[in-house]
Symmetry: C2
Subunit: 163 residues, 2 copies
C-alpha cells in the first residue's frame, strides 16, 4: 500500500513546489509561467520514464512494429507504473495514438467534481513525460499531451515524430 | 517492481532539481545554499510522512508510550515506506533514539565506494522529513538527522522535543 502512496504524495509535493517556485511573489501565474512549470515536470517525467522502461524491457523480446510497442505501453508499462491497463487505445494508423484511462491514478486523489478540472493539467505533465521518455528509449520520438474532460478519466494523445 | 522504482527515480529527479535550482549560475554551492536545499527536501518529506502515517495508523490501536511509537516506526512504518525493517534501535531512555538501517533503500542506487559519500546527505533529507512528519502526526515533535559512515548503511538520530 504505502509504496504507491509514497510516490503519489511525493508527486503532489513536487507539483506544488514547482508551481510555488515559479509564482514566487507574483499574484498569478501567466501562460508563460505555466508553460515553464509543465516543461520542468515533463522533463522529470521523461528521465523517469527512460529509467523505468530500461528495467521493464530487460527480458522482453524485441518488438515487431510501432503498434506492438504501443500495446506494450498500454498493458505492461501502464500496469507497472499506474497500476491499471489503458481502457481504450485508438489510432489513425498514421502515427497518432489516443490512450484512454478511465480512472487515472494521479487524478483519483482529486475530487471528482468540476471545481478542480482546471487544476488537472498540472498533475498530468509528469506522466506525459514518463510516456515520452519510455517511447524515446524504445526508439520512437513523440509528442505526448493529455486532456481531461470528466475526472478522473484522462486521454493521452501520442503523436509519433517521423524522421 | 516498477512502483518502488517510480518513487526512487522521482526522488532522484527531485534532489537533482532542487540542487540545480539553488545553484543556478553559481560555480559552487556554499553551506547556506546546501542548508536551503536540505530544508526544502525535508519539508516535502515532512508533509509526505504526515500523509502516510495517517493512512497507516487508521486501523491501529493507540500506542501506549513513546517507545511503543518508535517500535512501530522501526517495524511497520519502515517496512511500508522503505521496504525493510530497521536493523537496530537504540535509545538513552531520555528521548534520543538511534535507528540503524544497514541497507537503506535510497542509498542502494548509489555506488558503495567512498567516492559518493559526500553526496549521501542530499539523498537523506527527504527521508528525515518523512520520519519527522510521521512522528509529528503521532503527537511527538522531534529533530531528525541522518549520517552515513559506510554506504549503504545509515543511522537516523531522532531527538524528541519535550514541551
Amino acid at each position: 500500500m504505502a509504496d504507491e502512496v509514497l510516490f503519489e504524495f511525493l508527486h503532489m509535493e513536487i507539483v506544488s513546489h514547482i508551481y510555488k517556485e515559479q509564482q514566487s511573489g507574483k499574484a498569478e501565474l501567466d501562460n508563460k509561467d505555466r508553460a515553464v512549470c509543465v516543461s520542468v515536470l515533463e522533463g522529470m517525467g521523461f528521465r523517469v520514464g527512460q529509467g523505468i522502461i530500461e528495467r521493464l524491457t530487460r527480458d522482453t523480446p524485441s518488438f515487431k512494429d510501432e503498434l506492438d510497442i504501443m500495446k506494450f505501453i498500454c498493458k505492461d508499462f501502464w500496469t507497472k507504473v499506474f497500476r491499471r491497463q489503458i481502457d481504450n487505445l485508438r489510432t489513425n494508423h498514421q502515427g497518432t495514438y489516443v490512450l484512454q484511462d478511465n480512472k487515472f491514478t494521479l487524478l483519483t486523489q482529486l475530487s471528482n467534481g468540476k471545481q478542480y478540472l482546471d487544476q488537472a493539467p498540472r498533475y498530468l505533465a509528469f506522466s506525459c513525460g514518463v510516456v515520452r521518455g519510455a517511447l524515446s528509449n524504445l526508439g520512437m520520438e513523440s509528442v505526448v499531451t493529455a486532456e481531461v474532460s470528466i475526472m478522473p478519466s484522462c486521454k493521452f494523445q501520442v503523436v509519433i515524430q517521423k524522421l
